[in-house]
């Protein structure tokens, strides 16, 4: 299988190179009108078919690796290092992306799969798709060069073949790790597609904004994958690392967050181009930057430039990535300079207070946040270069710098949708903002009443202050969005005679993009409320003998026993804790500590009891070597569940935004006979 996999990768490289060169040559012939022995259109089609065949070749290689994992082929070094016989089936899949070579293969396979779909849909716009396909082939060539020459996944083990492998990193032996990395990679790799379209459209001086419409679904789906991937990573960190948090501003986390920020900025500013023909250059550079940031993230974390608790695979491939990024950047700059006149837009705006300006400010804040994170991630390297000493840029830095920026962004999330396009009047501002402002101050009062006070006990708590602002602004944003929904639904309800709920549903269906976007904003608000809850986390650590108690918040934990278990993969120790509230037993928690046999590495398995109000989070830290008693660390983390609930709402909103809106014709099918279809204002405009 190793020979088959290696051969498949070589074939894939040849096909990708042909796709790039033949495709590029054919497009050059078409652009210049030159003649050749073969018609350029036919040549371009052979390039496209090579791309399709390339997908089959990379799929063959990926299959070979999976097959080798499942058949315990320890003659392959990668399998020996990342798997073992006792590894459960689902985690054998995880072995594919637990190491450098495997994760590069996953990247190449996903890129080939995206390219496969793109090339099959080429009839939408043959020339534009040919450009995009050739650019994707260029990216694919880079990954296949890496896989063939720098990080071959099928390299054979030198010396005697061992009976068993080293096993999978224990941190990765968690159900979410089976889906989190592919999800994140789908997000990373997916941004190659809008990048390829943007660069291709610029190269061919594509008229109009059609390329944006073509790539809208790609971009939104990619953004969704990246969002879901980031949140799954947060949940994994929360449930596995056992420190009671979910986001540590680790370089790997930052690496995934940066393209998310620029991608989100792109999704917003691209509407300005679609609606008003503005910000064409800006949008092109946003998508270029997003793609480059996905590469930079990989370079930072996989190349060993920065250390990270999440970096499971490091090697010296950073040089390859730096060279590739340099080439991509040079191509982008060259193409932009050559065709920048094509990107001249209708740069006009009627007012500082308008939907257009809110999009600009939104972009400003998102990009500043991206800069802050990039700056913080790279500053240790910069510091070492300038002063010769490395410094740490950890959570305290980001909490002080990024949180205020995030709160400003949250504020814009509420303000933007309330502002009309073009310009607004003072009267309109007063009318739209009165309810959100009331909600904001009401929340401040309620927060003070329940004890969320930044000056509690005579000391200023920045955590409480930020939480108070987050709750208040969230309430205002939620009120703003809800009132927008209700206003539109009220119009439909009056015109169709249906109730408000149906009115809301019809309203959403008639402009899925707009109202799907609002639902995503609601999800973001819910997430922010959950994040703000971290200001009130409490923790307690105690050695618990049999029938000893510890108290945290309203709960009392009693140790009622400790036990051991073992299977072929690991040995484990459990502490059994009965949890009481108001003197009544509520449930039992069993935090666990495992020692994986193949790697001899220990791992905690946190016990979490989740409620909407808080999570009771219990870690079994091990036993005191002097007394032999278990050490238990308990956390009471308020509102954490809201973060995961927010993600569900974001996913739901994105799906709605992806569904085509009802046209007046289809809408009429849902209106009772004899009723008129409202055409103003709720059916007007928007896609």
């Amino acid at each position: 299988m190793a020979a088959f996999g290696s051969f498949a990768l070589l074939i894939a490289l040849a096909l990708a190179a042909y796709n790039l060169l033949a495709g590029g040559f054919a497009l050059r012939l078409i652009a210049t009108g030159q003649q050749a022995r073969i018609s350029p259109e036919r040549l371009a089609d052979t390039a496209r078919r090579a791309g399709i065949a390339g997908f089959l070749a990379v799929t063959g290689a990926a299959f070979a690796l999976i097959w080798s994992v499942f058949t315990n082929d320890f003659s392959i070094a990668y399998i020996m290092e990342h798997s073992n016989r006792a590894l459960p089936g689902p985690y054998k899949f995880s072995a594919m992306w637990s190491g450098q070579e495997g994760s590069l293969l996953l990247w190449a396979w996903l890129l080939a799969a995206f390219g496969f779909v793109l090339r099959l849909r080429h009839k939408t716009d043959v020339k534009l798709y040919a450009y995009a396909g050739s650019i994707l082939a260029g990216v694919q060539v880079f990954f296949l060069l890496l896989l063939n020459f720098a990080a071959p996944p099928f390299a054979l083990l030198r010396g005697a073949i061992p009976d068993d492998g080293n096993g999978l990193n224990p941190l990765l032996q968690y159900p979410e790790m089976v889906i989190h990395p592919p999800m994140l990679y789908l997000g990373y790799v997916g941004f190659s597609v809008p990048f390829a379209f943007a660069l291709g459209a610029l190269m061919m001086r594509y008229p109009g904004e059609k390329w944006i419409k073509i790539t809208r679904v790609w971009t939104l789906v990619t953004w969704l994958f990246l969002t879901a991937g980031i949140f799954l990573g947060m949940h994994w960190a929360y449930a596995v690392l056992g420190w009671g948090g979910y986001w540590g501003w680790d370089p790997v986390e930052n690496a995934s967050f940066m393209p998310w920020l620029t991608g989100t900025a792109f999704l917003h500013s691209v509407m300005m181009q679609e609606k008003k023909g503005m910000m064409k250059s800006w949008n092109v550079w946003l998508i270029f930057s997003t793609f480059l940031l996905t590469m930079l993230g990989t370079t930072l974390t996989r190349g060993g430039l920065v250390s990270s608790v999440h970096a499971f695979a490091q090697s010296s491939i950073s040089t390859w990535f730096i060279v590739f990024m340099g080439i991509v950047l040079a191509v982008c700059i060259f193409t932009y300079i050559l065709h920048r006149d094509h990107l001249k837009g209708d740069q006009h705006m009627e007012s500082l207070v308008s939907r257009e300006s809110s999009f600009l400010f939104n972009n400003l804040v998102l990009l500043t946040a991206c800069f802050v994170i990039l700056w913080g991630t790279l500053f240790p390297i910069l510091s070492e270069y300038v002063q010769g000493t490395k410094v740490t840029v950890g959570a305290p830095f980001y909490n002080r710098v990024a949180i205020p920026i995030g709160l400003f962004l949250l504020f814009l999330t509420g303000v933007g949708p309330l502002l009309p396009w073009r310009s607004t009047s003072l009267k309109s501002i007063k009318r739209n903002f009165v309810l959100p402002v009331i909600a904001l101050w009401a929340t401040v009062i309620v927060c003070f009443a329940v004890g969320v006070n930044p000056w509690k006990g005579g000391q200023f708590s920045s955590g409480n202050f930020y939480a108070l602002v987050a709750f208040a602004v969230s309430a205002a944003v939620m009120t703003a969005i809800t009132s927008e929904f209700l206003r539109g639904a009220g119009v439909i309800s009056r015109q169709t005679g249906r109730n408000l709920a149906v009115g809301m549903w019809l309203l959403t269906r008639r402009n899925t993009r707009r109202y799907g976007g609002y639902i995503i904003h609601i999800g973001v608000v819910i997430v922010v409320v959950g994040l703000a809850g971290a200001a009130f986390n409490t923790t307690q650590e105690q050695e618990l003998g049999l029938h000893d108690h510890m108290t945290i918040g309203p709960y009392t934990l009693e140790q009622v026993g400790a036990t051991q278990d073992s299977n072929l993969n690991y040995n484990s120790e459990y502490a059994m804790l009965d949890v009481y509230r108001d003197g009544k037993k509520q449930f039992q928690m069993t935090p666990e500590k495992r020692v994986y046999l193949a790697s001899q590495q220990p791992q905690t398995m946190v016990a979490i009891h989740s409620l909407p109000s808080w999570d009771l989070y219990v870690v079994y830290e091990g036993t005191n070597p002097d007394t032999g008693q278990p050490i238990i660390k308990a956390f009471l983390n308020p509102l954490v569940g809201w973060i995961w609930a927010g993600l569900v709402i974001i996913i739901w909103g994105t799906f709605i935004a992806l569904v085509p809106s009802l046209t007046p014709q289809t809408a009429s099918l849902r209106v009772p006979a004899g009723r008129t279809i409202p055409t103003e204002p709720v059916l007007k405009g928007g896609d």
Binding site: W243, F379, S383, V391, S462, R513
Partner: protein, 165 residues
Amino acid sequence: MRSRWMKVAQATALAVAVCFSMGATDSNARYYDLNHRMMCTCGCAQLVGECNHVGCTQSGEELTLLRTDIASGMGDKETLAAFSTKYGATVLAAPGTHGFDLVAWIAPFAVFAAALLGTILLIRRWSGLSALKAEAAAANPQLETPADVERRDRVRRETGVDGGF
């Protein structure tokens, strides 16, 4: 008018100063605050107050030393400096506020301020261009080509009261 702006500026400066002056006074709060300003040196890349990975040999030692330093009456600055001397500069979870390290703190706010100013100037410039165009169109309607009219109508249609996103 000017005095009102001065008051607003003073209030903002005060709020910012308060936000960034986190001074816990009692020893438990100081212990928590300081152990969240230092890293665990075992290589786990976590704050020492949050490191709980099984078998960590460093976090316990650091936390014990921190308790001792606080009990001995050392101030925050001295404690952080002592840790930095013992474990190296990377033990501090955030850059300091002297020398090149200060750049780490200033750059984000400088970039934000510059970008904010740039955005406002850009909007004002585009608004000015818009106004000039509108004036020219009003003075000489022939200047508007059919394409201009079509584009304007489309923009108005798509960005109407409830149109678009």
